[in-house]
Amino acid sequence: MVKATGIFRALTSLAAFVLIASLVAGPIMESYRQPIDTFFGETSYRIEGSGQAQWLYQSEFKSQMEAIEALRAFAIEEAQESFVLLKNENALPMTSGASVTMLGLRSYAPVYGNSMGAAPDTTVIEDGNQAYLALQKAGLNINPAVTQKYKDWVVANGGNLTAAGELYGEYSGASSSGENTKGDLNMTGTAEAMEASLSDLGLTAADYEGYKDAAIVVVGRPGGEGKNYITGGTDSTTGNIFGLNSLEKAVLEEAKANFDTVILLVNSVNPMELKEVRDDPDVDAILWIGYPGAYGFYAVADVLFGAVSPSGHLGDIYIANSAVSPAMVSFGGNGAVAWANAADFTPDDNVNSYLINEEGIYAGYRYFESRWADVVAGVNNAAAAAAGTYTNADTTVATADGSWVYENEVVYPFGYGLSYTTFEQTLDSVAIADDKKSADVTVTTTNTGSASGKAVVQVYAQSPYTDYDKTNHVEKSAIQLMDYEKTRTLAPGETQTITLHLDMANLASYDAKGAGTYILDSGDYWFAIGNDSHDALSNILTAQNLLETGSADKTYTWNWADFDSTTFATSKNGTQIHNVLSEGDSSMDINTFEGYEGTASYMSRQDWNGTYPTLHAGLSATGRLATLLRNDVIPLTTGAEGFNWGANNGMTIFEMINADWDDPRWDTLIDQVTPDEFVTFASNAFHNIQGIESVGYAGNKADDGPGGSDGGTYANDGQYQGTMFSTMPDFDASKGGYGTRVAPTPTNLAYTWNKDLAFRNGELILGESTLMFNYPIMIGPGMNIHRHGYNGRGAEYYSEDPILSGYTGSAVVQGAQSKGCLVNVKHLAFNDQEINRSGVAVFMSEQAAREMELRGFQQSFEASGKPASMAERTDVYVNGALGVMTSFNRIGAVAPSANKGVCVDILRNEWGFKGYSVTDFTGVSMKAMPKESVLYGTVAFCGFGGSVEYFTGDTLAADPQLAAAMKQDIKYILYPLAHSAAMNGADPTAHRVELTTSWRALYRNLQLYSGIAAGVFCCAWIVCAIMGKKKKG
């Protein structure tokens, strides 16, 4: 029988349980402070000072509404310029007030942005800015009955429904729920793209009455971090997810059957297979909109109505069959590249798979255009093609040996884009500097049509492919982008002349076998302008008398008689450039590891058909390569002497604001820091900049980009020079959830081909996130290139081309840094797929590494790509990026942060990087190779501490090499902080004050009250027991 004594005992136990749990939970929650803060939208500390704050960097927004309006205007402008008109048979622009029917699931539930890094603010979208509402507000009469049917379908079919009843395809839960029967959101396996069937919708011809001016059909593919596409398994013509599946084709047929005008909007960032719709005479217009951002459909309306002429150009080649390209051979999507002996390694080793990028530099348009050039010239075995390596006219993969035909392979070339007007461009002059290091190219653009619009000047180059190259396996693309500019809006008949200042280092080729550095071959070189890469190459081939369809007058040629291995053998800062990725532990060439000689056979232009990449499945990791994969390479030693730690020199970091790198006072300041402080700083880097008390730095929070702040930070948390927006008289609480994530995705930005716009993007999206939300570090921009179209995270990156990607990213960096934002350019490097992104070992030739991915990153670290409009400015493009985030994947066999070749020899030495280097969410774990990473310049490990035993101040400081590295790394911490908004609003008396957040209050109150309760219940039990005994007695 249960008595009061029993009840009190049980209550005592339960209260004690809560007490124990809360006592243990407290320290755990403190160690996870940053993500918990983010989850609850709180801040667990603030910085207090004397009030004598210095505002080195000032926000341009003095109130919430100023910020919201400016961000909105910019987001729309960027989206307008990013859209690419792919086809237009007099269907666009439409007449304002047109009555149209929108078809396709994505017409109602479009993809506004990708998940995570560039996810748009849902509050903004839900607040009346949904696609169909935006189009309605812009003057389009949208068929309400059909839209309602899509809405009903969405509600009936679940999916990711928000409170507003909208479905945002790629949003949270998309990759993990597994509950969505339509399946497309996972994008793994063989899932089809999501689309509603016409029978499910119950559409009839009567539904279209009154709204038949046009059908606007929207097809889309969601994407985002951690997401993956794979080839095959769908019912599209090619079998790939990027082709239209049967449901989407049915929607298109319905539109063609019921409407005279059919307009297709492509709501995908990853290139779709569009040959069928391009060639369909009943599809009147195709407009690529990518992921247009939270306000993107206002821009769609502006373009549809002709308020703005489309001026975007593709930054990726669009091919007929997305699975057929050299890079796709070793794409890791179908699990064919796992190490055969992966099971022999421990979880700490983090060994799973590998990629051997045998395509070398022939990724994207470099492959298709170069092969086409050789087909035209009839050389290099270009026309013959083996089964499985080329595409049939119907876009399927050829299953027998045959002929490689450009028109079967390519749908839209890199750089392609139409306008509502026409432009004529002339190549006015070319002046190559005597030292070969630069060239000025002047181009005049004239609007020859009847509408206003912007044009893009694209300057391409071709360098000679010589016998030396063939002997030494130096590969050459027949065409490569050198630089670009965008004109202002030109009225009909108006002209603009622009001079582009080309960096000729980007013309040099990396010769790993022969010279072991960058070379310029002897022979004929060409520049060409063109509307796209194919057009420019056509112009060159015409000038070479190999073709008749181009314009030879849009080319310029010159000859360098001598082979040159000296001009570009030193970097811009004077560092000798030599092989660092072709030998030793940093090697990316698998052939250089003992036991793997001859494993990879890199694609060569000498024999297109004979050197087409092959898949090397089933390799086992052995020997030195296996040792490297185990993440413990450099033995720890002791005996470090002569290092001065924790000195009492009385300096603070505030005395070093904007101090030169060579200022001797740095050493005095650095000596104040202790090894434990360094370890604490390095170990607590998840969206956090740990304070360093000895130099008076109290710490800051940080946040993830590249699309703006995603830390649950919105106008509610915004401030202007220390005054919170929420305390200002005009604060609108209903818009408290508006933030900086409103612009289109980074790929859209690149497709604008507008450096000034990219600079402005950096100022607003990253820079103002820093200033309004007090996040000195914003993790972005993302500058990996699109090696192929199957990276689910491709939307966070710019382009397949290192120059378009590099100059766009460089402009973003410059804009952001002008606001004091300490950018973390990510993910250095070779993170071109999400499958096994943590652990996958990426191998390639040093030429491919340097001329493709690294060349893109290089532009941002060397502050290259200055827009012509800023030629006279001396306050920008002075310092390169001051922060970097390394990738998840291995570079070669070692962790990216522990690859000396990339992190020291190239990044720090050749490019002169002096900044903050952080890993990507590894914590201090063995997979990050902590001691090797510290040795090679890593200063922080994003994550929540770690359990690597040797990672203590005492152990690291005892090792002479690591002690010296720590001293250097401390400078890599302090220098960028002193040149950033981390110094904003603070002063030498600043100190950190811990705040009582709701979660802190929760566990502390639980400790207090459960302790009291346990005591009370225990006493009650004892009293009851005593009284019971007395009663019995």
């Binding site: 005992r9 700490d348 929540f944």
Partner: protein, 143 residues
Amino acid sequence: MAKKTNAFGKLLCLSAILALIGMVVYVVNTTTGYMAGLHTPIDPLVLILPFIVIVCALFLTLRPDACKGATGAVTLILSLLMAAATVFFVKGRVDVVGDMLNPVNHPETQVTAVTWSLIGIGLYCLSYLFTVVTTLSDKLAKE
């Protein structure tokens, strides 16, 4: 089990059995597969505390009158020991479960390890709750 053991005594026995299974899960989970690869140490408190509970509970199940007059106090202590063991079990798995929130590819072995960790924690929780129920009674023997 003694014939005179009452329902609370039987529940205490069940609690001991659950704790025992939980202990086996903890040891296997910690010393094999993914957790072994991480060199995760065995927390002695997660084994010693339930071991005491198991021994005492089985003893009381066989000799329900052994602590006559102090049975309630004993079961309370046992429940507290089980509570502490559960909390320490959870504490030892926070990092590996938290790591699952990191949106990168996680090896199948990690998913398995986390799953078995959660099973073990569930068994300890159930064991603890049963001991709490036994504290409601002053006796483990039938009247």
